[in-house]
Symmetry: C2
Subunit: 246 residues, 2 copies
């Protein structure tokens, strides 16, 4: 069966950046925007995005923080092609490098010096059977090509000492996340929960770890997506950079 | 130097219960009220409070949930005496038993069948030197007589399979708490952060663990102590049972 390519170009509201997505595959969501904002990144930093998919996180991070170099690592060849097309469309071939590689093969020698690792990994534990492991959507959502420990382990291997790791994930996995991070010497230093609304449980969590960091966790105030009137909160609009548009 | 005993009797606002405190020592605070409310306890349960101090948690739990039996374990003889006096004052000798014991000596044989363990342990890691390790206040606040692992380990030893553990602690220790709980097979199942106000970082965290429980954490909506006008929130007043007084 031949696959009909359904690509669309979407504007990112930052510095005129655009991204190409494929409606049949996994399209970027709020998680990518949130983690790109949550990550502390300096202009001198080299950043690696593990499981970059369409390349949305490198584009957003470049748009928001302009670090010298961003690598996007992706295992799926179709996604690599799409991400490369987006990089070209934005003329960012010097800043953003999309690398077709399995993150499990990354080593301390793959990159020169990594200051920051970012990831929005698949959330759902793979139980086998139910999903089609060939589909791009399945690989982006389910832990088929890599699981939580693969992501944390890869980050720990490639980061420099005291380098930072930022990940967005689901709150129900928090105990696993903390124990795997500590196992791989990425000490959890900061977390922030994202709640749909005040009074509701969080549906996302953002985590900062530091390679070889000392033990002490900072818990940030919650981030609410919608206010009581059902519209985006001021903080969320600011993250989307929709407040200072004129 | 002779110590002048400065005892005072305070009302607990629940079923006419009273507690005796000593102004020179550690007096109960909001943590005891919050954790007594957070703990899921049935009327048929046997409950153990580790490090009971003045016996405030057994009294509050009896007042709120009336379980058949509550044991309060305390290492300091002066606190044991005070707690026993409070139990007598409230005529609860059949329901609440204060036990003078080091929690490190507790075993699966100490109690018949423990359904629930509760604790509001000392928060501060003991670095030695700075505090007076003889003082009752120091032992209640600093990890001198027991540390976090002693509490979690004792809870894990005495609880029945699928029994519940409830603890209130500080958010900055959360990674330690999770990793020690998992180490001792008390799987973290539910957490709730307590924030002084909306927009502020949490200063307390309440945790539920289940002995031999399956891995999946539930994160509750935040609990706010004060609202924007600087008065207690409705939810906090409800926990203090101040809303239905007439």
């Amino acid at each position: 069966m031949e696959q009909i390519v359904e690509e669309k170009i979407e504007s990112l509201n930052i510095k005129g950046l655009k991204i190409i997505q494929n409606k049949k595959w996994f399209c970027f969501g709020m998680d990518a925007v949130l983690i790109s904002d949550f990550a502390d990144i300096k202009k001198t930093d080299t950043v690696v995005d593990l499981g970059t998919g369409t390349g949305i996180i490198p584009l957003l991070i470049w748009g928001k923080k302009e670090p010298v170099k961003i690598y996007g690592v992706e295992i799926q060849p179709e996604m690599v092609e799409l991400a490369k097309k987006s990089v070209s469309l934005n003329h960012l071939e010097d800043q953003i490098h999309i690398i077709h590689m399995d993150m499990k093969s990354l080593s301390a020698q793959t990159f020169e010096k990594v200051d920051v690792v970012v990831s929005n990994p698949p959330y759902i534990e793979y139980q086998g059977g139910i999903v089609n492991p060939e589909s791009q959507k399945a690989l982006a959502r389910h832990e088929i090509a890599c699981d939580l420990e693969d992501v944390i382990n890869a980050a720990a291997r490639i980061l420099k000492q005291q380098g930072s790791f930022f990940m967005i994930h689901r709150p129900y996995r928090l105990v696993d996340i903390f124990s795997l991070m500590r196992k791989h010497r990425l000490e959890p230093k900061k977390i922030r929960f994202v709640h749909p609304k005040e009074g509701q449980k969080p549906n996302m969590i953002m985590i900062k770890g530091v390679k070889g960091g000392k033990m002490e966790l900072q818990v940030e105030p919650p981030l609410y997506v919608y206010n009581h009137e059902g519209v985006y909160t001021k903080e969320l609009l600011k993250i989307y950079e929709l407040d200072d548009q004129s």
